[in-house]
Symmetry: C2
Subunit: 268 residues, 2 copies
């Protein structure tokens, strides 16, 4: 038993799709969430910049006494995971490996699609992880750089989002994939429009939710689950806190009633 | 005569709409351009964050021996201009005052519209400046938060841009304005679609280009124009330099052939 909180971070709101799943499957866990809203989006940054940002994000979360960190951001997970194991003693988990594993276990025809930010597609970590688990898998990636701005501006269910989504999905629809990884944690909020375009028979994998399941397995197997019945949630951002609660509640499908703290992430 | 370069900065690519005009009306001037691509977009940041960013941007440009600085960014001009005059000895000019002046001089019916980022609309500096020059002017603002991501992702001339633009312009079209300030320096690249929706009789004011004209007037009146015939251009960004030349050439309507330098803006 370990009643310390789980640290979760993302470039902005997307990581809340992971928190939502934690609330559902591990309702007793305390969570400290950091959304780097002062530096969102991550998907268009260089690897050097991302490495710096992620180091700071981790340093901030480690300023609390936490038991593990989930990098609930596809871009950050893709850009930095190689060095993480060596550098830190806190257990750190990204979203790439759990989603890749689930995709390999789920696909029937061995054809898997991946949607991600420009950086995620460039680093190709999902492809690498899938190929490690099944060298015969056929993998198709597509960068969807407008999805994060659309979501962060509240265009969830609009004509514009559908037009852009159709454009992005056109190629991948022709590839006969039966499994599609939503490789950025912002994308599950566009799940309905993506499912509509891809068709109901395609399995969509929510990378944030899948990471929450992996975290649960890890905590359970190591005896580190919390023994409380109701968890506490603390939210921090690196810019104005005004819109976070409002937009964030759409990700969680319930209101954020806690105070949201603002920090200067460059100090970490 | 003063042959030192002019410093120009923006959150990203938008300020190049000002550089384009400098090239046209002051072809002998040297320009040092900084695009803060590592921290774009500015339009959704808090004032505190913007103040910090702009101080750093100015410190970087002042590390060169420059004769003046143009803040070629509507958001940065709106958020920080109040303190600038007192703090620095370098001449600094934003885009708000020149565009407001031109709008007041141009309008026939006294009804002026302003398009800007969320932050620009919130700070209301265009409205303030226009009202100072003509207290009877009727001014209507509209925040267009998706325009910068659309431009930075190359959606210049697409169905999606037109749908979003129609949405944003709907209210302001009903206000019977005859003059519309493009209050963010990214927006001139969407001029065709905005003009199409607003109608040919509406005067669109390009805030970046107008600032270049004000800079010309200032340099001429103080005898500080460069006496060369061909200027030199240096470009710096705070993130990957890869896409800058490609997208930037659309703003300049000519290729960027110079090397683009990458700097760590947090060091300034």
């Amino acid at each position: 038993m370990d009643n310390r909180p789980i640290g979760v971070f993302d470039s902005g709101l997307g990581g809340l799709s992971c928190v939502k799943e934690i609330m559902s499957i591990m309702p007793g866990e305390d969570v400290i969430y950091f959304g780097d809203t002062g530096r969102v989006p991550y998907g268009s940054r260089s690897q050097e910049t991302l490495m710096k940002y992620v180091r700071q994000d981790i340093r901030f979360l480690r300023s609390f006494d936490i038991k593990m960190i989930i990098i609930a951001c596809g871009t950050a997970s893709s850009a930095v995971l190689p060095w993480i194991g060596d550098e830190l003693d806190t257990k750190i988990m990204g979203v790439v490996q759990p989603a890749s594993k689930k995709a390999v276990e789920s696909t029937k025809n061995g054809r898997i699609g991946i949607l991600g930010t420009a950086a995620t597609v460039k680093y190709g970590k999902y492809v690498e992880d899938i190929k490690k688990l099944n060298p015969d898998a056929q993998v198709f990636q597509k960068a969807c750089p407008m999805f994060v701005p659309l979501v962060e501006n509240g265009y969830m269910d609009s004509e514009v989002t559908e037009i852009i989504a159709r454009e992005y999905l056109e190629e991948i629809r022709k590839k006969d994939v039966d499994t599609l990884i939503l490789g950025c944690t912002h994308y599950p909020i566009l799940k309905d429009v993506i499912q509509k375009i891809m068709g109901d028979e395609i399995l969509l994998i929510d990378s944030g939710a899948t990471a929450a399941h992996s975290a649960y397995e890890f905590l359970k197997s190591t005896g580190m689950l919390n023994d409380k019945t109701t968890g506490e949630y603390k939210y921090f951002v690196s810019d104005s806190t005004e819109d976070f609660a409002k937009l964030g509640s759409m990700f969680l499908s319930k209101p954020i009633c806690e105070d949201v703290g603002k920090i200067d992430i460059e100090r970490y």
